[in-house]
Subunit: 226 residues, 2 copies
Amino acid sequence: MMTADGRHRARRGEGDRLRGEILAAAEQLLIETADESAVSIRAIADRVGVTPPSIYRHFADKEALLRAVCREVFIRLDDTLEKAATGATNPFDELLRKGQAYIQFGLAHPENYRILFMLKQTHKAPPDGVADTDLPGSNAFLHLQDTIQRVIELGGPDAPKPDAYTMTCSVWTAVHGITSLRIAMPDFPWPSIDEQLEMVTAPWRQAICPNEHRQPTARRARQRAK
Amino acid sequence: MMTADGRHRARRGEGDRLRGEILAAAEQLLIETADESAVSIRAIADRVGVTPPSIYRHFADKEALLRAVCREVFIRLDDTLEKAATGATNPFDELLRKGQAYIQFGLAHPENYRILFMLKQTHKAPPDGVADTDLPGSNAFLHLQDTIQRVIELGGPDAPKPDAYTMTCSVWTAVHGITSLRIAMPDFPWPSIDEQLEMVTAPWRQAICPNEHRQPTARRARQRAK
DNA sequence: TGTACATCAGTGAACGCGCGTTCACTGATGTAC
DNA sequence: TGTACATCAGTGAACGCGCGTTCACTGATGTAC
C-alpha cells in the first residue's frame, strides 16, 4: 500500500519516520501560516501527504502532538542560546548575547514562540509522572541562571548581590516582554531592539560593574571583540 | 414580541441597550471561562438571552464585536492606571504605582489582557479612516509617557536623560513581560511581584535619583505615605 | 380618542464549513517453515 | 528457494459538533391622520 502522495510507507522499524515528518510539518505550518488555528490535524496530515487518521498511530491526540512540538522548539531555543553564548568575552557579554539571541529567536519564529510562551500552558504540561525539571524548557532557564550567577560574581566586593533565581526570572521576563509585545503588535512604532536592550541594561551594567565606564553597548562589544 | 428569555425588546431609541449587554456578556464570558475560544457569537447571545442573529443588528461581524470589546477594556485600563496615579507623592512614585496597577489589571482580567496584548493585532486594527491616535489604547500610552517625562525631569542636572518615548516603550515592555508571562505560565514558581519590580527598578532609581539613598521599594513607599 | 400603518428589534430555521476523532479495512512488509 | 502467514502502517468513509452567518419572517412599538 502506498501513502496518499506516493511515498512508500515506513517499514517495520521505521515507525519514527512519519512521527518526525509530522512534527516537522506542524512546525512548518506554524511558521508559514503564522496562525495557530491553521495547524489542524487535517492540515498537518495534508502537508505530510498522509490521511488524518494515520496521525493517531503516532500521537494519542492533538494535545500530545502540540506537546511534542513544544519540546522540539524548547530544545532548539536552548541550543540557540548556548551557541550564542560561545565566544563571549565575559559573563556580562554572554548575558547580553543570550538576550539578543532570545529576542531574535522569538521574532524569527513568532508562532513557535507563541505556543511556548503566549498561550495557555496546556501544551506544556508534562505528561503524568515526568518532573518539571525534565522538561527541555527548564534547561534553557538553568543555563541562563548559570550565566547570571557568574555575572553576579563578576561584580566587585561592593557591588549589589541580587538573588540569582529572582534575577534570572527578571531577565527572562524582560526579554520576553520585548519579544512578545513585538509579536503581538508588529505595527507599533517600536524603538530598535538595541536601544531597548541598552536602556534596560545600562543602569544594571553601572550597578554591577561600577568600575567600568558607561558606554553604548555596541561600542563596548566591538572593543571587546578586538 | 418578547426576547428569548422574556425580556422586552428594546424600544425605538434604545438600540444601544442590547449593544451594551452584548459587550458586557462578551467580557463576562472572557473573564469567567478564561478561554478565548469560549467566546462565540452563540455563547454571547445565549448569555444575553437572545438569539445569535440579533447580534448582527449591532455588530457587522465577530471581528467588529471583539474590536469593540478591546476598546472598552483599553478605556478601563487607562482609567485604572490614572486612578492608581492619584495620590502619588512624586513622579517616580506615580510610575511605580502605575506599574503595579498595570500588572494587577492584567492578572485580574487575564483573558481581557490576552485579547489586548497577547493575540494577533487583528482585533485592534482601527476601522478604516480612524487614526491610530484616536484609539483608546494610545491614551494609556500617552499618559504613561507623561509620567515618565516628569520622572526624567526629576533627575538632577547630572542624571542621565533618556529619551522619553524609548523609555516609555521599555517600561511598558517590562510590565508586560511580568504580566503576560504569569498569565501564560501561572504554575511557574515566580518570585513575588514586588521583588520583581524592585529588581527591575532598583538600579534605575539609583541612576535617575542618585542623591537619594537606596532603600527597598516598600519601605520607601511607606515612609512617603506618612 | 381611535384606527390604520410603517418601522425595525429580535426570531427560528437553515446553510456550509472544518474540526477532532472512530472504525473496520487493506495490503505491503517481514518471518517461519 | 518458495510459500503461507502474522504484523501493523496507513486508508477511506463516516460520526457528531459547534461555529459564523444568511434569510425570510413576526409582531410590539411608535406615529400620522
